[in-house]
């Protein structure tokens, strides 16, 4: 077999065979076992231009650059999380250092349900691997890097969306099974981003039983045109595999071919594994397909053992719903810069909102009161007051200074930090520009 990859592909393949959330949890030790067997048996790692790498171990600073862990990072995360995040960082470094053209981090646990503020695990995620990776890249290679996420997991990428909701240099597109039928129950077409990054959050909920046809309609008619407009420096596919027709947790009908073709068209610089729990019938084939597609090689012979060509047919009702949503999103994308932000957010100084977040894995309920300053000079100072039950630490205040923070917002943030000390036992200030996290305890 003398095959050479068209694109040099780096694989950070780290199945963490000795770790799981709990012995019988779906995100389990065995999860990537069959993928590993398939990849080894296919001889993929012998293909010239496909190279395997070990993950790095991310540092606490890498986590603190992205998250505010409450009460502190050390008590919430453990080595497996740092390694999974480190796997994403390694993949990104391989691409940035031009050691490879593209990289795929096949890591676990996944990350896309982890919000900026973290009290524990939710949706099998504790920290957001891909956000930690992006914040690492922006710190090292410049915060003006333009990044586009395309999250193709069946679940709404609510965590990644949360972290980048008000960040103008990051486009976040999530396509997922409709939130009315699946955890986390969010991700509707009206979520379009905060006042500092309006229009740069895009959610396309897909009806249950959407097939490759619907996925590719959205790709061709919405995602690819938007990416062309946005013209990012890096495209990241948050590659969840739980849209597969055999996945036990969802009701979608995507095939391994559908995933592979998506990666061929999307042509991402980086793919980061998210969910996917049909570990025997889907993951081995999807992962092999993605690897071949990213390497620019023929994937047309990849098929699930129970594949049936009828599975790609989709009802016209589903097709119509998707078309309607795609049209709506496309027109709001086109008008994104014509919007009067103060009118849209109905305020002149601070946009305030609130958020209830349920940690299904850790069984925690969190309420956030969010204030974002409407600022003509930067994307705006953000203040989040958060309370989590049943935790006993009371209300916490979290002040976030974005990468593009202006002097005024910066001063304001540090002043707030000082004066809030008398009112809050737990107060945090995350300064992206100075790359530091302050706390009063």
């Amino acid at each position: 077999m003398q095959i050479k990859a068209k694109n040099n592909l780096g694989l950070v393949f780290f199945p963490a065979f000795d770790w799981s959330i709990s012995p019988t949890h779906p995100e389990r030790k065995e999860r990537l076992l069959y993928t590993k067997d398939q990849v080894l048996e296919e001889g993929l790692l012998d293909i010239e231009g496909i190279e395997e790498y070990n993950p790095l171990v991310a540092t606490i600073d890498d986590v603190n650059r992205t998250h505010i862990c409450i009460p502190d990072t050390e008590s919430i995360i453990s080595k497996p999380h740092l390694i999974s995040a480190g796997g994403a960082i390694k993949a990104a470094e391989l691409v940035m250092q031009q050691e490879v053209d593209k990289a795929f981090a096949i890591i676990r646990p996944p990350g896309h349900h982890a919000f900026r503020i973290v009290y524990g695990a939710r949706g099998f995620c504790t920290v957001n691997n891909e956000a930690i990776m992006v914040e690492y890249l922006r710190q090292k290679y410049g915060s003006d890097l333009k990044i586009a996420f395309v999250d193709t997991d069946a679940h709404h990428a609510d965590g990644t969306q949360n972290i980048y909701y008000n960040d103008p240099n990051v486009l976040h597109i999530s396509i997922h099974q409709d939130g009315r039928t699946l955890f986390p129950g969010t991700g509707f077409t009206d979520d379009l981003g905060g006042p500092g990054a309006f229009g740069r959050t895009i959610n396309l909920p897909l009806p249950t039983n959407t097939t490759d046809q619907g996925l590719h309609y959205a790709l061709d008619n919405l995602i690819l045109p938007i990416l062309d407009d946005f013209d990012p420096d890096l495209i990241i596919n948050a590659a969840g595999q739980d849209n597969h027709y055999s996945d036990p947790l969802t009701q979608m009908k995507i095939t391994a071919q559908g995933y592979a073709e998506l990666n061929e068209k999307l042509d991402p610089d980086l793919a980061i594994l998210q969910g996917g729990y049909s570990i025997e019938s889907a993951l081995p084939y999807i992962n092999t397909g993605i690897m071949l597609a990213m390497a620019g090689l023929d994937y047309s012979y990849i098929k699930e053992p129970d594949y049936n060509s009828k599975i790609v047919k989709q009802s016209t009702k589903i097709t119509d719903i998707i078309k309607k949503r795609v049209d709506k999103l496309l027109s709001s994308w086109k008008k994104r810069d014509e919007i009067d932000i103060q009118a849209k957010f109905n305020t002149q100084d601070y946009y305030t909102t609130q958020h209830n977040i349920f940690y299904d894995t850790a069984q925690i309920r969190e309420n956030q009161q969010i204030k974002i300053k409407i600022c003509p000079d930067c994307s705006g100072l953000m203040i989040i007051d958060s309370r989590a039950v049943p935790l006993s630490i009371g209300e916490t205040r979290n002040i976030i200074l974005p990468f593009d923070v202006c002097n005024e917002c910066r001063q304001l943030g540090y002043n707030k930090y000082e004066i809030s000390k008398s009112d809050f036992n737990y107060i945090y200030l995350q300064d992206k520009k100075e790359d530091k996290l302050l706390t009063n305890h």
């Binding site: 393949f13 012995p23 012998d46």
Partner: protein, 552 residues
């Protein structure tokens, strides 16, 4: 007493060792490629006498026959019957011009997904025969998990085509997962079987004539031996036995006890090997020969194109050593300056004509505005630094091998050699200098000229097997040994280890083997929040090493 014979590129070295492994006799003969058996037999004849032949316990051969056949593209036409199932494009498996894809498939857990059809097989084989091809290799994806389709095809051929005598099944060659490598290995093994069998029968006839009745073994790429009878089916295992003999020679002559770098400094190349504790380490995936990536297990060995006879030239005003070799060193009548000439000039070796060495070095010295002795020193330094760079590359690569568990990722298993041993012509002078640069202890053993033959003579029989058990599917199999058995839910890792050891032991018959479990993994199968079974993987191995006295 034991005989070891190493058939090298130009010479064949033979050694006779007494029962305490001491060297009694050795010789060096030119290798006759067209008649390897004769070369071997005359080496045997010269080493032994009529009186001591009866005391001989064993004879081990390290042969380049198969390596050369493969490199020269020799061997016989081989038809491949492939059962790839879904996955990579089957057109990529373009090893043989005679290839037939059979529809059928097995999945990663060894479950049959699609049956093979007898008609397709018959048509394919009939077509091979029509084209004059009567050696056949059969390879199914995941056949190591379930060999039934390979076995079924074999039966169909045997029942319908008695003229096909030579069939190789891929699952018998390796228990590891890697379908393309198994195809390559099957393909090569099938093609060289007939010439190899002729070689074996020539040797047997010749040894009978000499009244030499001791059992005969062939050295394998993994530094172990296999009995001649077993070698008949597995000729491919004997590729790369040259480097393996050299590594086993280092092991036999220096008995490393700590992490050790081994160097065999030859004429054209320097071969670098590694020992961790008392064991040589393996190539991570398998041997590559003539651009074929195979699944043949081999000792770790990296060549660098600098040796005692490497050509020295000046390119772009800089000194360049190797990778070309024009002939022997000028000091030994060769056409051009070499590192050996630098050693001769500096009086670091007793042999060779210093005048000729000086004459070859002088023009280069002039060009570089150096005195001849400055140039000679510079050559030696450069020689050492090239090897040092290669060693550093090797260590970096080995120390960054992928791991799959958190425990392994966080454990520091860095290979850091503390000792350097060297054999080969210039070793006596080069090794101390190199050891100094690398800050290592060193050793240059006696008899280093016949190290390969000694290594072969003292190597023990090695064997590996892999057991894969799936309790929810109620079976285990050991593909290399052709074993498949039913099991119950009680089957566990400890049982699996015991069975792998027992089966390997009974396969080795008369060797009192040290069988080690080199890999073991278990996974709980979780279905719907319940544990429904276990997948168990165990690899058992007799590692290469010095044979224990009085054993085979």
């Amino acid at each position: 007493m034991q005989l070891g014979i190493d058939i090298g590129g130009t010479h064949t070295d033979g050694v006779l060792l007494d029962k305490n492994d001491q060297l009694i006799n050795h010789n060096k003969l030119p290798t006759d490629y067209h008649n390897l058996a004769d070369t071997i037999l005359s080496s045997c004849q010269k080493l032994t006498s009529n009186s001591n032949r009866n005391n001989l316990n064993r004879l081990v051969l390290s042969t380049t026959l198969i390596t050369n056949l493969i490199i020269k593209g020799g061997g016989h036409s081989t038809g491949l019957l492939l059962i790839p199932g879904p996955g990579l494009n089957p057109a990529w498996y373009n090893y043989s011009p005679y290839t037939k894809i059979i529809s059928g498939s097995i999945d990663h857990r060894g479950r049959k997904v699609k049956d093979i059809t007898e008609k397709e097989v018959k048509k394919g084989v009939a077509n091979f025969i029509k084209q004059g091809v009567n050696n056949i290799g059969i390879c199914g994806k995941f056949s190591t998990r379930n060999p039934s389709q390979e076995l079924k095809i074999k039966k169909i051929i045997e029942n319908n085509f008695p003229e096909i005598k030579n069939i190789t099944l891929s699952h018998k060659l390796s228990g590891k997962l890697n379908y393309p490598r198994r195809i390559a290995t099957t393909y090569l093994n099938t093609g060289v079987q007939k010439p190899h069998n002729k070689f074996i029968s020539d040797i047997q006839t010749g040894l009978n004539k000499l009244n030499l009745e001791a059992p005969v073994y062939i050295l394998k790429a993994d530094g172990g031996t296999m009995p001649l009878k077993e070698a008949k089916n597995l000729p491919i295992e004997s590729i790369n036995s040259g480097p393996a003999a050299s590594i086993m020679g280092i092991l036999a002559l220096t008995k490393p006890t700590e992490t050790t770098l081994g160097l065999d400094i030859g004429g054209t190349t320097t071969d670098i090997s590694l020992f961790v504790g008392q064991e040589p380490i393996f190539k991570p995936k398998g041997i590559t020969i003539n651009n074929y990536k195979t699944s043949v297990r081999g000792l770790y060995n990296q060549s660098i194109g600098v040796g005692g006879d490497s050509l020295i030239q000046i390119k772009d005003g800089k000194l360049k050593i190797g990778p070309q070799r024009k002939g022997s060193a000028a000091a030994f009548g060769g056409p051009a300056p070499t590192p050996t000439d630098a050693l001769v000039y500096l009086n670091l070796t007793n042999n060779g004509d210093k005048k000729k060495a000086t004459a070859s070095l002088n023009p280069l010295a002039k060009k570089l505005h150096l005195s001849t002795s400055e140039l000679a020193e510079k050559i030696i330094t450069k020689f050492c630094s090239q090897i040092q760079t290669k060693i550093n590359q090797i260590l970096t690569k080995l120390n960054n091998q992928p791991v799959y568990t958190i425990n392994k990722l966080l454990t520091d298993n860095t290979i850091q050699p503390t000792r350097l041993v060297g054999i080969g012509g210039p070793a006596k002078t080069i090794i101390p200098k190199l050891a100094n640069r690398l800050n290592l202890k060193y050793e240059v053993p006696d008899h280093s000229a016949v190290a390969n033959a000694v290594g072969a003579a003292l190597a023990r029989t090695t064997k590996e097997c892999t057991l894969y058990a799936d309790t929810s599917r109620s079976y285990y199999n050991i593909p290399e040994l052709g074993i498949e058995k039913e099991i119950t839910d009680e089957f566990n890792l400890e049982t699996a280890k015991k069975i792998a050891q027992q089966e390997l032991n009974s396969n080795l018959k008369n060797q009192t083997a040290e069988i080690k479990i080199t890999n073991s993994e278990t996974f709980n199968l979780i279905r719907g929040f319940k544990t429904t079974g276990q997948i168990i993987k165990v690899t058992a191995q007799v590692k290469p090493g010095r044979r224990r006295t009085n054993a085979n």
